[in-house]
């Protein structure tokens, strides 16, 4: 019973904290409206026009299928990138040789702009979902890699000695000592990666004409339907925020409750 109440209280605090985020969004909408007042609907449709266009899009029978297509690509790319980047980063953190081998590769990968990978992926995969997924993986994995590497390199070795002294097998030590520490480095990396996964997916879809939100964006641009362009962009941002706050932040709050325990009452969020 106590655990249920504790979880409910924690969820309530999490949702309540949304007010602070909403106030920021309303400030942004006010600035957007001001821009619209200056430049007019053709250059910058108002938030109201954009939301009306979103309503029309949502009424389309294929709306959810379009979102699902992009979501599958973005989340698949994000999942694979986070998985590969994290595992490689943890290995590199433990092995000096692996770190020396992988770090230059990651630096090179980070230096190549996503648009370059899209062009290459178009040649390799053609106009298919593979182009978007591959671009997301290559553009995002290095960020997770760097986060995991940093986390493992800065782990508390005294805690590891403690775990070793109590006879913890290596995987148990990794799970109970290293990974909880690495998570605090991984979450910012994953947040960045998740946001860029949506952006890169839409960009790849637009350039490869492979459907999804990017494909619709290309069509709207061709028709000079600026309100619809704004609507698709707003939807993309909304989906990125949903991934961030509905998935990653929630996961972080659940896994890192101990951090909140150390904060004085009133500044817990």
């Amino acid at each position: 019973m106590n655990r249920v109440l504790e979880s409910l209280g924690w969820m309530g605090r999490y949702l309540w904290a949304g007010w602070a985020g909403l106030s920021g969004i309303f400030c942004f909408l006010a600035a957007w409206q001001a821009g619209h007042e200056i430049y007019g609907s053709f250059i910058l449709p108002s938030p109201g026009e954009t939301f009306a266009a979103m309503g029309l899009l949502a009424a389309r029978p294929d709306f959810l299928a379009i979102l699902a297509q992009s979501a599958v690509r973005a989340l698949t790319g994000f999942g694979i990138a986070a998985g590969i980047g994290t595992v490689a980063g943890v290995l590199a953190g433990y092995s000096f040789a692996a770190m020396r081998l992988m770090k230059p590769v990651v630096t090179v990968l980070l230096g190549v702009p996503p648009i370059g990978w899209i062009v290459l992926a178009l040649i390799w995969f053609g106009s298919s979902g593979g182009t978007a997924v591959m671009t997301v993986i290559i553009a995002s994995a290095p960020v997770s890699f760097a986060g995991a590497l940093e986390g493992v390199a800065k782990r508390d070795r005294q805690l590891e000695v403690m775990a070793q002294a109590f006879g913890g097998p290596w995987f148990y030590r990794l799970r109970t000592v290293t990974m909880p520490h690495v998570l605090s480095y991984l979450f910012p990396a994953w947040t960045t990666t998740a946001g860029s996964a949506w952006k890169v997916t839409v960009m790849a879809e637009l350039l490869s004409n492979s459907g999804g939100i990017g494909g619709e964006l290309a069509t709207a641009r061709a028709l000079f339907d600026i309100a619809q362009v704004s609507a698709w962009l707003t939807i993309t941002v909304g989906l990125a925020l949903l991934t961030d706050y509905g998935l990653l932040h929630l996961l972080r709050e659940a896994l890192e409750r101990w951090r909140a325990a150390g904060l004085p009452w009133g500044v817990k969020r």
Binding site: Q158, L159, V161, M162, A163, Q164, A165, F166, G167, G168, P169, Y172, T176, V177, P180, E256, W258, A261, G262
Partner: protein, 255 residues
């Protein structure tokens, strides 16, 4: 060196152990045997290799030379600082060694709870994270974690140097009582002569200069003060090290 008592009954035995760090020899040919139920205190100035010997004994680091024979099943370790995992609750921290040994969750929590109560922690604190506890409570938890595994061999690495006098005395007495009741052996590393006298059956004094053992004594049935006098008289005779000034001044207090 190697004037320590050796015995076939030893549950922990160092055999000609030597160790070096960054090319500097910490100690050479160190021999030590600890009998079941015996408590041995390692004394010496900073840098004399006390903690290194303890870490070698506990299997945390491997010695450069020599061998360590361990004839026990379970070991516990209390560190100078509590070393609790900040992401685990108090009770899960105390149960850490039991979880590492694969005990089911309910069983290990029950057992950890008993030891938590034994060191003076309260049930209301079991669900708290280390950051919510006082320094003394955290150190108590560190002691409970070591006792909870029901060790045959307990290693204490200056475990009470950072706690206040009252708590220090309480934990020292608690450990002496636990060692007597349960019969485990203890290797204590300390700077504190009085602590060593209270807890140990045998004192070993390490040189701070070249890693020599300059005194190792176990006068039969000797009360603490006489043992200390014997040890430090010999230490004074053998050592030319100014690093022993602090220990010698401790001897004056004992006299």
């Amino acid at each position: 060196m190697g004037c320590q008592t050796m015995s076939d009954r030893s549950i922990l035995r160092f055999e000609h152990v030597g160790h070096a760090f960054l090319g500097r020899s910490l100690f050479e040919n160190f021999d030590l045997g600890i009998a079941p139920g015996e408590t041995v205190a390692l004394l010496g100035p900073s840098g004399s290799g006390k903690t290194t010997i303890l870490q070698i004994a506990a299997g945390i680091i491997d010695p450069v030379r020599g061998r360590v024979h361990r004839h026990y099943r379970r070991q516990g370790l209390v560190f100078q600082e509590p070393r609790l995992l900040p992401w685990m609750t108090l009770i899960d921290n105390i149960a850490y060694g039991l979880a590492a040994a694969g005990l089911p969750r309910r069983e290990r929590r029950e057992r950890a709870g008993l030891f938590a109560l034994e060191v003076g922690l309260e049930v209301a604190d079991f669900g708290k994270y280390p950051v919510e506890l006082s320094g003394g409570m955290r150190q108590r938890a560190g002691v409970a974690r070591a006792l909870a595994v029901e060790p045959d061999m307990l290693f204490l690495d200056e475990p009470f140097s950072a706690v206040d006098v009252g708590l220090r005395r309480h934990l020292q007495e608690l450990l002496v009582g636990a060692a007597r009741r349960r019969g485990f052996s203890t290797l204590l590393v300390t700077h504190d002569l009085h602590e060593a006298l209270l807890v140990a059956d045998r004192l070993i004094v390490l040189s701070g200069v070249d890693g020599r053992v300059i005194a190792a004594h176990k006068p039969a049935g000797s009360p603490g003060r006489r043992m200390a006098r014997t040890v430090f008289d010999e230490a004074e005779r053998l050592s030319e090290s100014p690093a022993f000034a602090e220990l010698f001044s401790a001897r004056e207090r004992v006299r």
